[in-house]
Amino acid sequence: MIGHSILFTLFAAAACGFAAMVVISSNVVRMAFYLVISLSATSGLFFLAGADFVGAMQLMIYVGGTLVLLIFGVMLTAQQRFVHMRPSWSEVVLAGLLGTSLLVLVASTAFSVPAWRGAGPKGASLAEPPLTATSIALGLVGLRVDSDAQNGQPLAGYLLPFEVVSVHLLVVLVGAAYLARTRVTAGSLSAQPPGGFDPDDVEADPQTAQPPNL
Protein backbone atom coordinates (compact mmCIF):
# COMPACT_ATOMS: atom_id res chain seq x y z
CA MET A 1 0.00 0.00 0.00
CA ILE A 2 2.83 2.36 0.83
CA GLY A 3 4.51 1.43 -2.43
CA HIS A 4 1.30 2.32 -4.25
CA SER A 5 1.26 5.72 -2.58
CA ILE A 6 4.91 6.37 -3.40
CA LEU A 7 4.47 5.38 -7.04
CA PHE A 8 1.31 7.47 -7.31
CA THR A 9 3.12 10.50 -5.91
CA LEU A 10 6.00 9.99 -8.32
CA PHE A 11 3.82 9.65 -11.42
CA ALA A 12 1.42 12.41 -10.37
CA ALA A 13 4.29 14.81 -9.71
CA ALA A 14 5.81 14.01 -13.11
CA ALA A 15 2.49 14.39 -14.93
CA CYS A 16 1.52 17.66 -13.23
CA GLY A 17 5.01 19.14 -13.14
CA PHE A 18 5.78 18.57 -16.80
CA ALA A 19 2.28 19.73 -17.77
CA ALA A 20 3.07 22.98 -15.97
CA MET A 21 6.43 23.16 -17.73
CA VAL A 22 4.67 22.84 -21.09
CA VAL A 23 2.79 25.99 -20.14
CA ILE A 24 5.82 27.83 -18.77
CA SER A 25 8.33 27.03 -21.51
CA SER A 26 8.39 29.24 -24.57
CA ASN A 27 10.51 26.94 -26.73
CA VAL A 28 8.20 24.79 -28.84
CA VAL A 29 10.69 21.94 -29.18
CA ARG A 30 11.10 21.67 -25.41
CA MET A 31 7.33 21.90 -24.99
CA ALA A 32 6.93 18.81 -27.16
CA PHE A 33 9.51 16.93 -25.09
CA TYR A 34 7.86 17.90 -21.79
CA LEU A 35 4.52 16.77 -23.19
CA VAL A 36 5.98 13.34 -23.98
CA ILE A 37 7.13 12.93 -20.36
CA SER A 38 3.83 14.19 -18.97
CA LEU A 39 1.73 11.78 -21.04
CA SER A 40 4.03 8.85 -20.26
CA ALA A 41 3.63 9.56 -16.53
CA THR A 42 -0.14 9.64 -17.11
CA SER A 43 0.04 6.11 -18.49
CA GLY A 44 1.81 5.13 -15.27
CA LEU A 45 -1.17 6.54 -13.35
CA PHE A 46 -3.46 4.38 -15.51
CA PHE A 47 -1.47 1.27 -14.64
CA LEU A 48 -1.73 2.17 -10.94
CA ALA A 49 -5.51 2.52 -11.23
CA GLY A 50 -5.79 -1.01 -12.63
CA ALA A 51 -6.39 0.03 -16.24
CA ASP A 52 -3.58 -1.90 -17.87
CA PHE A 53 -5.03 -1.94 -21.39
CA VAL A 54 -5.79 1.78 -21.39
CA GLY A 55 -2.30 2.50 -20.08
CA ALA A 56 -0.73 0.44 -22.85
CA MET A 57 -2.91 2.17 -25.45
CA GLN A 58 -1.93 5.53 -23.98
CA LEU A 59 1.73 4.66 -24.52
CA MET A 60 1.25 3.16 -27.98
CA ILE A 61 -1.30 5.49 -29.60
CA TYR A 62 -0.78 8.74 -27.72
CA VAL A 63 2.94 8.84 -26.97
CA GLY A 64 3.96 6.67 -29.91
CA GLY A 65 1.59 8.03 -32.51
CA THR A 66 -0.05 11.35 -31.76
CA LEU A 67 2.96 13.00 -30.19
CA VAL A 68 5.28 11.81 -32.94
CA LEU A 69 2.85 13.45 -35.37
CA LEU A 70 3.01 16.63 -33.30
CA ILE A 71 6.81 16.54 -33.24
CA PHE A 72 6.82 16.19 -37.02
CA GLY A 73 4.70 19.32 -37.14
CA VAL A 74 7.18 21.10 -34.89
CA MET A 75 10.06 20.03 -37.11
CA LEU A 76 8.29 21.18 -40.28
CA THR A 77 7.49 24.62 -38.90
CA ALA A 78 10.30 25.33 -36.44
CA GLN A 79 12.04 28.09 -38.31
CA GLN A 80 14.37 30.26 -36.28
CA ARG A 81 11.89 33.04 -35.57
CA PHE A 82 9.07 30.65 -34.64
CA VAL A 83 10.92 28.57 -32.03
CA HIS A 84 10.59 31.25 -29.35
CA MET A 85 7.29 33.10 -29.34
CA ARG A 86 6.38 34.80 -26.08
CA PRO A 87 3.00 36.24 -25.24
CA SER A 88 2.85 39.65 -23.62
CA TRP A 89 3.31 39.89 -19.87
CA SER A 90 -0.20 41.15 -19.23
CA GLU A 91 -1.61 38.04 -20.90
CA VAL A 92 0.68 35.82 -18.82
CA VAL A 93 -0.37 37.45 -15.56
CA LEU A 94 -4.04 37.32 -16.46
CA ALA A 95 -3.85 33.67 -17.54
CA GLY A 96 -1.94 32.76 -14.38
CA LEU A 97 -4.52 34.40 -12.15
CA LEU A 98 -7.46 32.83 -13.98
CA GLY A 99 -5.81 29.41 -14.09
CA THR A 100 -4.94 29.42 -10.40
CA SER A 101 -8.43 30.43 -9.32
CA LEU A 102 -10.01 27.83 -11.62
CA LEU A 103 -7.64 25.18 -10.26
CA VAL A 104 -8.56 26.02 -6.66
CA LEU A 105 -12.25 25.81 -7.55
CA VAL A 106 -12.00 22.45 -9.34
CA ALA A 107 -9.67 20.85 -6.77
CA SER A 108 -11.84 21.88 -3.83
CA THR A 109 -14.85 20.45 -5.69
CA ALA A 110 -13.01 17.15 -6.12
CA PHE A 111 -12.43 16.97 -2.37
CA SER A 112 -15.94 17.98 -1.37
CA VAL A 113 -17.51 14.64 -2.35
CA PRO A 114 -17.14 12.21 0.58
CA ALA A 115 -17.45 9.09 -1.60
CA TRP A 116 -14.34 10.07 -3.50
CA ARG A 117 -12.17 10.54 -0.41
CA GLY A 118 -9.88 7.86 0.93
CA ALA A 119 -9.58 4.30 -0.21
CA GLY A 120 -13.26 3.40 -0.10
CA PRO A 121 -14.57 -0.14 0.12
CA LYS A 122 -12.07 -2.46 -1.43
CA GLY A 123 -13.63 -4.67 -4.06
CA ALA A 124 -10.41 -5.84 -5.62
CA SER A 125 -7.05 -6.36 -4.04
CA LEU A 126 -3.96 -4.72 -5.38
CA ALA A 127 -2.15 -8.05 -5.04
CA GLU A 128 -4.01 -9.69 -7.91
CA PRO A 129 -2.90 -8.27 -11.25
CA PRO A 130 -5.53 -6.53 -13.37
CA LEU A 131 -6.28 -8.16 -16.70
CA THR A 132 -8.78 -6.01 -18.53
CA ALA A 133 -7.82 -6.55 -22.17
CA THR A 134 -10.23 -9.44 -22.79
CA SER A 135 -13.19 -7.79 -21.08
CA ILE A 136 -12.56 -4.51 -22.90
CA ALA A 137 -12.37 -6.31 -26.24
CA LEU A 138 -15.62 -8.14 -25.47
CA GLY A 139 -17.23 -4.85 -24.46
CA LEU A 140 -16.17 -3.29 -27.75
CA VAL A 141 -17.86 -6.05 -29.75
CA GLY A 142 -21.02 -5.68 -27.66
CA LEU A 143 -20.69 -8.30 -24.94
CA ARG A 144 -20.14 -7.10 -21.39
CA VAL A 145 -18.75 -9.59 -18.92
CA ASP A 146 -18.86 -7.20 -15.97
CA SER A 147 -22.26 -6.48 -14.49
CA ASP A 148 -23.94 -3.66 -12.67
CA ALA A 149 -23.23 -4.05 -8.97
CA GLN A 150 -26.62 -2.70 -7.84
CA ASN A 151 -29.05 -4.98 -9.66
CA GLY A 152 -26.80 -7.56 -11.22
CA GLN A 153 -27.83 -6.79 -14.79
CA PRO A 154 -25.16 -6.89 -17.49
CA LEU A 155 -24.22 -3.46 -18.78
CA ALA A 156 -24.63 -2.19 -22.32
CA GLY A 157 -22.00 -3.01 -24.92
CA TYR A 158 -20.15 -0.57 -27.10
CA LEU A 159 -20.42 -2.06 -30.60
CA LEU A 160 -22.16 0.91 -32.22
CA PRO A 161 -19.88 3.59 -30.70
CA PHE A 162 -16.90 1.46 -31.71
CA GLU A 163 -18.10 1.35 -35.33
CA VAL A 164 -18.90 5.07 -35.30
CA VAL A 165 -15.49 6.00 -33.97
CA SER A 166 -13.78 3.66 -36.46
CA VAL A 167 -15.51 5.23 -39.47
CA HIS A 168 -14.89 8.66 -37.99
CA LEU A 169 -11.16 7.94 -37.69
CA LEU A 170 -11.04 6.69 -41.30
CA VAL A 171 -12.85 9.74 -42.65
CA VAL A 172 -10.73 12.12 -40.60
CA LEU A 173 -7.47 10.52 -41.76
CA VAL A 174 -8.56 10.69 -45.41
CA GLY A 175 -9.55 14.32 -44.88
CA ALA A 176 -6.24 15.12 -43.19
CA ALA A 177 -4.32 13.58 -46.09
CA TYR A 178 -6.43 15.65 -48.49
CA LEU A 179 -5.81 18.85 -46.52
CA ALA A 180 -2.07 18.35 -46.14
CA ARG A 181 -1.34 17.39 -49.75
CA THR A 182 0.86 19.51 -51.99
CA ARG A 183 -1.13 22.07 -53.88
CA VAL A 184 -1.23 21.55 -57.66
CA THR A 185 -2.87 24.60 -59.15
CA ALA A 186 -3.70 25.27 -62.78
CA GLY A 187 -0.94 27.84 -63.06
CA SER A 188 1.78 25.57 -61.79
CA LEU A 189 0.78 22.87 -64.28
CA SER A 190 0.59 25.11 -67.36
CA ALA A 191 3.86 26.85 -66.53
CA GLN A 192 5.75 23.63 -67.07
CA PRO A 193 6.74 22.52 -70.59
CA PRO A 194 4.89 19.49 -71.91
CA GLY A 195 8.08 17.46 -71.72
CA GLY A 196 7.71 17.27 -67.98
CA PHE A 197 10.81 17.86 -65.90
CA ASP A 198 12.70 21.00 -66.82
CA PRO A 199 16.19 21.25 -65.33
CA ASP A 200 16.23 25.03 -65.66
CA ASP A 201 13.45 25.33 -63.10
CA VAL A 202 15.49 23.77 -60.35
CA GLU A 203 18.79 25.41 -61.21
CA ALA A 204 19.83 27.28 -58.07
CA ASP A 205 22.93 29.07 -59.28
CA PRO A 206 21.93 32.33 -60.98
CA GLN A 207 25.17 32.51 -63.00
CA THR A 208 24.53 29.29 -64.84
CA ALA A 209 20.79 29.71 -65.15
CA GLN A 210 19.72 30.36 -68.73
CA PRO A 211 16.86 32.63 -69.68
CA PRO A 212 13.95 30.35 -70.57
CA ASN A 213 13.22 31.74 -74.04
CA LEU A 214 16.69 31.53 -75.57
Binding site: V28, A49, A51, L70, T77, L103, A107, W116, G118, A124
Partner: protein
Protein backbone atom coordinates in the same frame (compact mmCIF):
# COMPACT_ATOMS: atom_id res chain seq x y z
CA UNK B 1 -6.84 20.15 3.30
CA UNK B 2 -3.34 19.55 2.00
CA UNK B 3 -2.37 17.63 5.16
CA UNK B 4 -5.24 15.16 4.83
CA UNK B 5 -4.50 14.91 1.12
CA UNK B 6 -0.99 13.71 1.87
CA UNK B 7 -1.78 11.33 4.71
CA UNK B 8 -4.92 9.51 3.63
CA UNK B 9 -4.68 6.54 1.21
CA UNK B 10 -4.86 7.17 -2.51
CA UNK B 11 -8.45 7.64 -3.62
CA UNK B 12 -10.45 9.00 -6.51
CA UNK B 13 -9.99 12.56 -5.28
CA UNK B 14 -6.22 12.36 -5.76
CA UNK B 15 -6.68 11.30 -9.36
CA UNK B 16 -9.22 14.07 -9.87
CA UNK B 17 -6.72 16.64 -8.60
CA UNK B 18 -4.11 15.35 -11.07
CA UNK B 19 -6.70 15.53 -13.85
CA UNK B 20 -7.65 19.05 -12.77
CA UNK B 21 -4.02 20.21 -12.86
CA UNK B 22 -3.55 18.80 -16.38
CA UNK B 23 -6.86 20.33 -17.50
CA UNK B 24 -5.99 23.79 -16.19
CA UNK B 25 -2.48 23.57 -17.66
CA UNK B 26 -4.03 22.74 -21.03
CA UNK B 27 -6.53 25.60 -20.79
CA UNK B 28 -3.80 28.12 -19.93
CA UNK B 29 -1.61 26.66 -22.69
CA UNK B 30 -4.41 27.06 -25.25
CA UNK B 31 -5.09 30.63 -24.14
CA UNK B 32 -1.54 31.99 -23.95
CA UNK B 33 0.54 30.22 -26.60
CA UNK B 34 1.04 32.08 -29.85
CA UNK B 35 2.44 29.07 -31.65
CA UNK B 36 -0.33 27.02 -33.28
CA UNK B 37 1.38 23.78 -32.26
CA UNK B 38 1.50 25.03 -28.66
CA UNK B 39 -2.27 25.43 -28.80
CA UNK B 40 -2.50 21.84 -30.07
CA UNK B 41 -0.40 20.65 -27.13
CA UNK B 42 -2.84 22.39 -24.80
CA UNK B 43 -5.69 20.44 -26.39
CA UNK B 44 -3.79 17.19 -25.80
CA UNK B 45 -3.30 18.11 -22.13
CA UNK B 46 -7.00 18.83 -21.68
CA UNK B 47 -7.98 15.49 -23.22
CA UNK B 48 -5.53 13.68 -20.96
CA UNK B 49 -6.92 15.37 -17.88
CA UNK B 50 -10.37 14.09 -18.87
CA UNK B 51 -8.89 10.62 -19.41
CA UNK B 52 -7.40 10.56 -15.91
CA UNK B 53 -10.85 11.36 -14.49
CA UNK B 54 -12.54 8.63 -16.56
CA UNK B 55 -10.08 5.96 -15.49
CA UNK B 56 -10.20 7.00 -11.83
CA UNK B 57 -14.01 6.93 -11.69
CA UNK B 58 -14.11 3.52 -13.37
CA UNK B 59 -11.35 1.92 -11.34
CA UNK B 60 -12.45 -0.90 -8.98
CA UNK B 61 -9.20 -0.44 -7.05
CA UNK B 62 -10.14 3.06 -5.99
CA UNK B 63 -13.89 2.87 -5.48
CA UNK B 64 -14.62 -0.80 -4.78
CA UNK B 65 -16.85 -3.09 -6.76
CA UNK B 66 -20.10 -1.81 -5.28
CA UNK B 67 -19.70 1.78 -6.45
CA UNK B 68 -17.78 1.05 -9.63
CA UNK B 69 -19.14 1.79 -13.08
CA UNK B 70 -17.48 -1.33 -14.44
CA UNK B 71 -15.44 -0.95 -17.56
CA UNK B 72 -17.35 2.12 -18.76
CA UNK B 73 -14.64 4.51 -17.65
CA UNK B 74 -11.87 2.61 -19.40
CA UNK B 75 -13.89 2.25 -22.60
CA UNK B 76 -14.62 5.99 -22.60
CA UNK B 77 -10.91 6.67 -22.09
CA UNK B 78 -10.14 4.50 -25.13
CA UNK B 79 -12.63 6.45 -27.24
CA UNK B 80 -11.07 9.71 -26.07
CA UNK B 81 -7.62 8.44 -27.08
CA UNK B 82 -8.83 7.51 -30.58
CA UNK B 83 -10.64 10.82 -31.04
CA UNK B 84 -7.55 12.69 -29.85
CA UNK B 85 -5.49 10.92 -32.51
CA UNK B 86 -8.03 11.93 -35.18
CA UNK B 87 -8.11 15.51 -33.89
CA UNK B 88 -4.32 15.76 -33.89
CA UNK B 89 -4.10 14.50 -37.48
CA UNK B 90 -6.61 16.95 -38.92
CA UNK B 91 -5.38 19.87 -36.79
CA UNK B 92 -1.81 19.24 -37.90
CA UNK B 93 -2.95 19.22 -41.54
CA UNK B 94 -4.68 22.57 -40.97
CA UNK B 95 -1.55 23.91 -39.24
CA UNK B 96 0.67 22.92 -42.19
CA UNK B 97 -1.80 24.46 -44.63
CA UNK B 98 -1.82 27.64 -42.55
CA UNK B 99 1.98 27.69 -42.50
CA UNK B 100 2.17 27.25 -46.25
CA UNK B 101 -0.41 30.00 -46.84
CA UNK B 102 0.74 32.83 -44.57
CA UNK B 103 4.36 31.70 -43.97
CA UNK B 104 4.03 31.92 -40.22
CA UNK B 105 2.82 29.67 -37.40
CA UNK B 106 1.67 32.59 -35.21
CA UNK B 107 -2.05 32.31 -34.55
CA UNK B 108 -2.31 36.10 -34.30
CA UNK B 109 -1.63 36.25 -38.03
CA UNK B 110 -4.83 34.34 -38.80
CA UNK B 111 -7.06 37.41 -39.06
CA UNK B 112 -8.05 37.28 -42.72
CA UNK B 113 -11.68 36.50 -41.91
CA UNK B 114 -12.27 39.61 -39.80
CA UNK B 115 -15.20 41.73 -40.83
Amino acid sequence: MIATLLTEPIGVAHYLVVGAVMFIAGIVCMATKRNLLGVLMGVELVLNGANVNFVAIGSPYLRGDTASVGLDGQLMALFVIVLAAAEAAVALAIALNFYNTVNTIDVDAADQLRG
